[in-house]
């Protein structure tokens, strides 16, 4: 299934785009997406380790299931304020 990953800040700079498309197996979770993203975009790997993911604009955990067409955001450590 295809999912869209929104990327921000250094992650956006590293991949040169603000969104990525990934093709994951059926029943994939956030944890599977994390692994697939590190494999397909090695430059993101160090930043990925400290990043969270958001599904439906809310923080998700590694077991959160994804659905086809889902929009997921990679949230590297935040620095607002």
């Amino acid at each position: 299934m295809k999912v869209t990953v929104l990327v921000f800040a250094m992650a956006r700079q590293l991949v040169g785009r603000d969104r990525l498309e990934l093709d994951l197996g059926d029943g994939a979770t956030v944890g599977d997406l994390r692994a697939a993203l590190g494999a397909s975009h090695a430059a993101l790997a160090p930043l990925l380790r400290g990043s969270l993911f958001a599904v439906d604009q809310a923080y998700a955990d590694e077991r959160t299931p994804l659905v086809p067409g889902q929009e997921v955001a990679m949230i590297p450590p935040v620095s607002g304020g």
Partner: protein
């Protein structure tokens, strides 16, 4: 009251929004852009966010603060885009009948905002270059990212 804005923050307007005859205490916190960070000079900053989620997380912060403290009013304004030194990047204002609630809620709001809300800043250095700030993570002046410690596993 939650606001994400590309315009300069007007502290007097934020304060005015939380004043009330029921309030005995009004607290305003401004986060402002510093000229020096760890001895290196910053010339300006840029802030970006994940807009829909930043807005919902800020609204959640306000709701949590109101549940934890008896606030009369609560306002959180975060600036986005390009900021010059000395400008405010964030303003948090709360009012309450008694001052302890205002201090506790104000400090909790800024601490939690910095921990949780998907907003990022980029430091534009006076000596050239720019770095997105990801706490716990550093980036070499030139070249790719690195972590503070060498990666030890997948």
């Amino acid at each position: 009251m939650i606001e994400l804005t590309h315009d300069p923050i007007d502290p007097a307007a934020v304060l005015g929004g939380v004043e009330s005859p029921e309030a005995g205490a009004v607290l305003l916190f401004l986060g402002t852009t510093r000229e020096t960070t760890d001895g290196r000079r910053t010339s300006s900053l840029d802030y970006e966010c994940y807009p829909e989620m930043a807005r919902s997380e800020l609204a959640e912060l306000e709701a949590e603060a109101r549940a934890r403290w008896p606030l009369v009013h609560c306002a959180i304004v975060h600036r986005l885009g390009h900021l010059e030194i000395g400008e405010a990047s964030v303003a948090i204002a709360v009012s309450s009948a008694h001052r302890v609630a205002a201090f506790e809620a104000g400090q909790w709001l800024i601490d939690t905002l910095k921990d949780r809300v998907p907003i990022w800043k980029r430091e534009n250095w006076s000596d050239g270059g720019a770095d997105w700030v990801h706490p716990g993570f550093t980036r070499k002046a030139e070249g790719g990212p690195r972590v503070d410690r060498p990666p030890t596993g997948p």
